[in-house]
Symmetry: C2
Subunit: 335 residues, 2 copies
């Protein structure tokens, strides 16, 4: 497998980007195409033992930052690492593209520049994969489309179910719509109308779900519009960060607490590992005509390696081809 990796995406680029790529090359034996400023990337590679690994460096003259406007990068930075790396996928020279860079820019460049959308897909969407107290759950849309139509949510449901089945390995994945209550009749107009559409499909729709259901893995696929999904995932992160912050603070308050915290540290680490987004690393941009995995900008090397792992799962699962086949297929037609 050949995976194009953006070496310039993270907040601390190229350090975790390159380190994670090296780890992935070693662990999976894949051909990693590291895309970025060649001098910078080669310099970074000298810090690692890479003999025997299939790592190629491909030069990209421009580098997108978190401050670049997605609507402008196509013109202002035509030779960005995002462009060059995703073009490798478009040209069939790589099987997948992985980046932890500016999400809006990745969306704009892959969608409007290099890859385009899968025929029939109305709106590509961003996903996240979480595994808090369950096997992995894919959440979508988490931010690409703030205002959605019911038909788009149906398509997100199709794409998410395909991903859960083919890349995450969940047979007949359970699908839920994120709502303000599980009961029939709950939801805003969008959710009610999307529910009616999804009910008529052959998807394994379990109905409306609340945040606690998602957290505990009552579904494998959770669908929402990009505004609600974004607030949902950021709320989980905010509360997780807050609690660990408060625990650290209170654990320093006195000698007894300090001693307790020292003893409890391995257990707390195990809890943190469960909610740590870098354990999964990245999630697919679904609906574009190629495998694109996006991770967190503040990633570490583990997150980068795991994002590359996610790309391997997506490629092996043939998700782009399956979306092409199913997006307008029989399973979204009224029965």
């Amino acid at each position: 497998m050949r995976i194009a990796v953006d070496a310039m995406g993270s907040d601390h680029f190229p350090v975790p980007d390159v380190e994670g790529a090296v780890q992935a090359a070693r662990e999976y034996g894949d051909n990693i195409l590291l895309v970025g400023d060649e001098a910078v990337v080669r310099q970074e590679l000298t810090k690692h033992e890479t003999s025997g690994l299939k790592i190629d460096v491909i030069h990209a003259a421009h580098h997108i930052t978190m401050h670049d406007k997605p609507s402008e990068v196509g013109r202002s930075k035509p030779e960005s690492s995002v462009y060059v790396a995703s073009k490798l996928v478009a040209d069939g020279r790589a099987d997948a593209f992985v980046s932890v860079g500016n999400t809006g820019a990745i969306l704009a460049i892959t969608l409007l520049g290099t890859l385009g959308r899968v025929p029939g897909v109305k709106r590509p969407c961003l996903s996240a994969i979480v595994s808090l107290d369950s096997r992995p759950v894919i959440l979508l849309d988490i931010g690409a489309n703030a205002d959605c139509k019911p038909q788009w949510l149906l398509q997100f449901a199709v794409m998410g179910s395909i991903y859960a089945q083919s890349a995450l390995g969940h047979k007949n994945p359970r699908l839920g719509l994120l709502s303000n209550g599980e009961e029939e009749g709950k939801g805003n107009d969008l959710i009610k109308e999307a529910g009616e559409l999804i009910k008529k499909s052959s998807l394994n729709f379990v109905g409306n779900v609340e945040p606690k259901d998602v957290v505990h893995g009552a579904v494998d696929v959770m669908v929402s519009d990009g505004f609600v999904g974004n607030i949902f995932i950021k709320s989980l992160e905010a509360m997780g960060d807050l609690l660990f912050h408060l625990i650290r603070r209170e654990a320093r308050a006195d000698m007894r607490s300090k001693a307790g915290a020292a003893l409890l540290r391995p257990a707390l680490r195990r809890v943190y590992k469960r909610v740590d987004p870098f354990e999964i690393g990245g999630a697919p941009l679904l609906g574009v005509n190629g495998v694109v995995i996006i991770g967190h900008g503040r990633t570490n090397a583990l997150g980068m390696k795991n994002a590359i792992r996610q790309a391997r799962l997506a490629v092996a699962g043939g998700i782009v081809e399956k979306i092409r086949q199913d997006i307008n297929g029989i399973n979204t037609e009224p029965e």
Copy 2:
């Protein structure tokens, strides 16, 4: 102050309801009007020392459960404790009504039956008050209106700001719209349009805020539609519950962890206390023509007592009168 308290609202009624009311009567010296099945309430009161406390029992023949449909309780249970207690407020025989019962039923009965809305209020809304890593923040709407118009959000902003100033004691409260990003241009159509309206008001609008900003108290008032607000608050709860669940589980895994957990317990309790909804107890239903405070059905006595405390703050702050004055006043008109 005379406060009408629903004795039949909680999941374990009348136990925490009555105990919290007795505590409030003792601590604040208020006249508590305990409303419910008289025999049940009087029996429960015998478990407590109430001599010298101003507690009256007022009979209500019917009792609403969590399974009753809000749209039907007005007809099917006309003499419910919610009806009788809120009618006391409507008739000027009580200054406030407090319940931890069926939220939808409270909304329907107070709005359509006993109290009605403050003239000029388009849609009353539910609020929550959280104090996670900051002074109290009021969140609204958290569930009354799943689909909203921008003008309604402007009114929520006015009512929330009045409450934050007059009941929570925050001078010139900072107001934010919950959004999928802080930058101008982020948000769905509703949030963008509401933002334009709020900018033209004299409210202290700080712009769009993300979940982490709310959690850390960057605003005193957070406005959203009732669908998004409901998912936001439930996401915080779900993540908080999950983390404490995981910590308890991991803390039992081995002897070292058990010893650490025993030592760290007081520190973890302090953290739990910060995120415990019962510490605040309840929050106002805003826009109805009377002070109505709603708490959690799974409350304990502390939560009930604190819900009554919140009612005292709302009455003392004169919030209903202030909403009446300001809802269509100069501060929502374009400058």
